[in-house]
């Protein structure tokens, strides 16, 4: 299950970060921020890749000692999704992660198309988005 879900703007500032448990929120912020390095690397590497390899899902960013694996995803609008997944009791397949990202992307798109959202602002007041993220965090994939 996801323990942290982050949406990061083109310009690399966080549009949305949520993590459980909330107490070490800071740790997750650092974690997500550093993982942007790898995201960038992968994106630039992908640029050269062939079309069929240029999928939005970036795969595992890097493993960590604790069970928290970070996965990356980048929309065509250069918005990055980073998801930290706790794999202690379940080994998630790539496809499961992929589908989680798809869900995230879909509801991010909805946010973008929401008249009350101004592109580039932090995503703060979208209940729909929140609940979707919550679902990703509680559900054991």
């Amino acid at each position: 299950m996801a323990v942290c879900v982050a949406v990061i703007a083109k310009e690399n500032y966080p549009l949305y970060i949520r993590s459980v448990p909330t107490e070490n929120e800071l740790k997750f912020h650092y974690m997500v921020h550093t993982s942007l390095d790898v995201v960038d690397e992968k994106i630039s590497a992908m640029g050269k890749a062939l079309v069929d390899q240029r999928e939005l899902y970036l795969g595992l960013l890097y493993p960590t000692e604790d069970y928290k694996k970070r996965y990356g995803y980048v929309t065509n609008s250069k918005v990055k999704f980073v998801m930290v997944v706790d794999s202690s009791n379940t080994a998630l397949r790539d496809n499961e992660i992929r589908s989680m990202f798809r869900k995230l992307h879909n509801s991010y798109t909805d946010v973008m198309c929401n008249p009350f959202y101004n592109p580039g602002d932090r995503i703060q007041s979208s209940r729909a988005f929140d609940s979707m993220v919550t679902s990703m965090m509680i559900q054991v994939c």
Binding site: M46, G47, L56, T75, S77, T109
Partner: protein, 158 residues
């Protein structure tokens, strides 16, 4: 994209709406174009987010422009751009010989003086789309005989 007829009619109403409000002095008259363009910008941002949701990642700028001319245009205007030209220095010219928003208005020079009103929104649409794909640009337009028109995209290198 909604039913195109609906889109066309809605667009027309939007244009006249903006210009009416200008007459009532709510918008200062010169800004109408800008106002429409800004509307388009926001719409473009949203649209592109949707349209690119399931596409492969773009290789480069040209790749993106092609997308705009093909997929994006088709979804919005039910046809592709007829001709895309570029100087490879960040200037692109998109030529549509039968631009959807002009076809029902006139064939030739009638109403030519009003044509630009009906291009502003689309200019914004393009600019918004591109900017959301991380390309800052300036989009201008030109009509000499309706319903054909040209959009010029100037990329801002930054």
């Amino acid at each position: 994209m909604a039913d195109e007829a609906l889109f066309l009619l809605l667009h027309n109403e939007m244009v006249s709406g903006v210009y009416k409000s200008a007459e009532q002095g709510e918008v200062e008259n010169g800004r109408c174009i800008t106002k429409l363009e800004n509307m388009g910008f926001r719409v473009g941002q949203g649209l592109i987010e949707r349209f690119t949701k399931d596409t492969a990642r773009f290789k480069d700028e040209l790749d993106i422009m092609k997308f705009i001319c093909k997929d994006f245009w088709t979804t919005v205007f039910k046809k592709q751009i007829d001709n895309l030209r570029t100087n490879h220095q960040g200037i692109y010219v998109l030529q549509d010989n039968k631009f959807r928003l002009l076809t029902q208005m006139s064939a030739g020079k009638q109403y030519l003086e009003h044509a630009s009103k009906y291009l502003a929104f689309t200019c914004g649409l393009i600019r918004g789309g591109l900017s959301n794909l991380g390309i800052k640009s300036i989009v201008t337009a030109e009509v000499s005989s309706m319903p054909a028109c040209k959009f010029q995209v100037m990329i801002q290198k930054s």
